[in-house]
């Protein structure tokens, strides 16, 4: 039974990270109807920037909490400006182009970011020195460490904050209006360009924090890590109902838990035939199953055009 609780906890932590990345996908999709392929790579940049900053600040002798805070801030600034520039350069000029065009530029931007990162950080794995050794506590026969608790709480705060922002701020109202109908929103005096830029800014900033969490949790990063992470986060967004912010949160948590449980039990269930190296397939299977059985996702509304 303790394996179950342990995998549930691992899944919750993993799921919180997926959910944060999924928010970036779902917000952009909700407003532009565009899959921002480069979002996973923006998260990767967040992870690698914070890894570098943590190393530098730690070497400079700053206390760990301060260097973590500064590294996170640095990553947020870098990713937010990256997301903003991507929208400005690669997506805005194509606002009225056929659907395929922005999708292809998105793939191009994704490749550009990946290989720019390969140039900056090299192609080897970036390891974070063990500067923090979070103490762990026993809970129902499973081990939880403080880092895991911190990740889940911080993720919950960010999601809550974002949902509040969308529903109660002036900008959030403009975002919802643009999502419903960009043309009418702009007639009502909403600066839709600014709203879209803001969406990219927010999504990328949240992605940066997810990147920081990934690098702290796993301790290693890689220029290609954004691909798998992005794909899983996208799956999470689809699972929850793409375009729906609450759905992204639920989808992320669910996917994390499904994946952890499946990876933990697959060897047992298949009699040792299949190992946890099949772990990465689950996300795709979930994606295909969702699209087959409930294409609008868990919380999404049915729309004839979308799926």
């Amino acid at each position: 039974m303790d394996i179950f609780v342990q995998q549930l906890i691992n899944g919750l932590v993993l799921g919180s990270i997926y959910a944060l990345v999924a928010l970036g996908y779902t917000m952009v999709y909700g407003i532009l109807g565009l899959i921002n392929f480069a979002h996973g790579d923006v998260t990767m940049i967040g992870a690698l920037v914070s890894a570098t900053l943590i190393q530098l600040l730690h070497a400079a002798g700053l206390p760990v909490p301060v260097s973590l805070l500064l590294a996170g801030g640095g990553a947020v600034v870098v990713c937010a400006s990256l997301g903003f520039s991507i929208e400005r350069i690669a997506y805005r000029p194509l606002r009225n182009a056929p659907r395929l065009a922005p999708l292809i530029t998105a793939i191009g931007v994704s490749i550009l970011i990946q290989y720019s990162a390969a140039l900056i950080w090299g192609k080897q794995y970036i390891a974070l020195p063990a500067i923090i050794t979070p103490p762990s506590i026993e809970f129902a026969g499973a081990q939880i460490n403080h880092l895991q608790i911190a990740i889940v709480i911080l993720a919950a705060c960010i999601m809550g904050g974002l949902i509040w922002f969308i529903h109660h701020s002036r900008m959030g109202r403009a975002m919802r209006a643009t999502e419903q109908n960009p043309a009418v929103a702009s007639l009502m005096g909403v600066d839709t360009h600014a709203v879209i830029a803001m969406t990219f800014l927010l999504g990328s900033a949240i992605g940066a924090i997810a990147g920081l969490m990934v690098i702290l949790y796993y301790g290693i990063g890689h220029y290609f890590m954004g691909f798998m992470l992005g794909l899983k986060a996208f799956t999470a967004a689809v699972l929850g109902g793409i375009g729906n912010v609450g759905g992204a949160v639920i989808g992320g948590l669910l996917l994390g838990i499904i994946e952890s449980l499946a990876a933990g039990y697959i060897e047992q269930l298949s009699g040792g035939l299949l190992g946890s190296n099949y772990r990465d397939i689950f996300a795709f299977l979930v994606l295909i199953l969702v699209l087959l059985l409930r294409p609008q996702g868990l919380l999404g509304q049915r729309s004839g055009d979308r799926a």
Binding site: I104, I107, V109, N277, D280, I281
Partner: protein, 352 residues
């Protein structure tokens, strides 16, 4: 009219004889490694034309196309290597490879029929990854694919006693394996072009175009969109499968390494860069994107000479340029380097 047709026939004859002489010229002027690159370029032309059926004709964005190439390559490798100790004749394997790839195409197409462009892109991408993970892991409990090590000692292409792996001489001219593979690949490319051209102007091709431009309207006009979309997937996939068979026989060794997402993206690049839906453009795109990156290999030594060290790995530079090319193409020339003429022009010509 007859003279015109005669002229076009003689021109075609000229082109074909130039294509047959080309490998000798390439080997003499540029060396053997470039002949090898040319052979690979022909395979990519086949792949790009196959993907063009799916993306260009039917408008279904497929980001996992390399999976069908992999299916074809592994069918050949398993049926003609010591791996399973089977050495089936080529004339059996290639149809099997094509059929298997088409089956996988339908398997991918069926659940994704209702999906719109960008969803389809993600699902096909996931499909490509699933195939790669399977190839990597199907070495236990029963060793089928030999996992990440791949399959070695694959039989060269052979038709009864004639093996493409050995040199043959005819009338005093020696044909090395590279020459022979060039000719057989060229034959396959020409068949692919022929099928593509015929398809484009057929009832099926027009139906695909209608689906691409407006699926709902196409459906209202009585086009059976489900079957036609599946057909597009199956046709495109079978081209990929045949190319995969040829690839396995040509290389003699395959591993899951050769079938990554980036390869799917590269084939898509060829289609997009050349001109989506335009056969000539797609061929141009495939040739450009196979040959231009090869010239980048001189960049490494050049950097060494000028700066003393290699700052940018040529392979990385290639990827950076790919990414940049994709973005710039969409921004500046969204219809490709050599796009298809607009439909309106065709209509007015027909009217006269």
């Amino acid at each position: 009219m007859t003279s015109l047709r005669y002229a076009s026939w003689s021109r075609q004859l000229l082109i074909i004889s130039a294509l047959i002489v080309a490998p000798f010229a390439i080997e003499m002027l540029l060396g053997r490694s470039w002949l090898r690159i040319t052979d690979v370029a022909l395979l990519y032309v086949m792949l790009a034309l196959g993907l063009n059926i799916v993306v260009g004709f039917a408008g279904l964005l497929d980001l996992g196309y390399i999976a069908f190439f992999a299916v074809g390559a592994y069918s050949y490798a398993l049926l003609a290597s010591p791996q399973l100790a089977i050495h089936a004749p080529v004339l059996v394997i290639i149809p099997v490879g094509a059929a298997l790839a088409a089956l996988f195409g339908i398997a991918l197409g069926a659940p994704t029929l209702r999906l719109r462009g960008d969803y389809l892109a993600i699902v096909t991408l996931g499909f490509g990854e699933i195939i790669r993970v399977l190839l990597n892991n199907l070495n236990r409990p029963i060793n089928i694919t030999n996992g990440p090590q791949g399959i070695t000692r694959i039989d060269p292409l052979h038709i009864s006693q004639f093996s493409f792996g050995h040199s043959h001489s005819l009338g005093g001219i020696t044909f090395t394996p590279l020459h022979q593979y060039y000719l057989i690949f060229l034959a396959f490319v020409l068949i692919t072009i022929l099928i593509s051209v015929r398809l484009e102007h057929s009832r099926i091709g027009r139906a695909w175009r209608a689906i691409r431009d407006d699926e709902l309207a196409a459906q209202a006009m009585g086009i059976h969109t489900r079957n036609l979309k599946l057909l597009a997937f199956a046709m495109g996939a079978s081209f990929g499968g045949v190319a995969g068979c040829l690839f396995a026989s040509f290389q003699g060794f395959i591993s899951p390494e050769s079938f990554q997402l980036i390869d799917s993206v590269m084939i898509l690049c060829m289609v997009v860069l050349g001109g989506i839906g335009h056969i000539g453009g797609v061929i141009l795109g495939a040739l450009l994107l196979t040959i231009l990156p090869e010239t980048l290999r001189y960049i490494g030594p050049l950097q060494q000479q000028i700066f003393g060290t290699v700052y940018i790995d040529p392979a990385d530079l290639r990827m950076l340029l790919f990414g940049l090319a994709l973005v710039l193409m969409m921004l500046l020339r969204p219809r490709g380097l050599w796009p298809k003429r607009q439909l309106t022009g065709q209509l007015t010509n027909r009217g006269g």
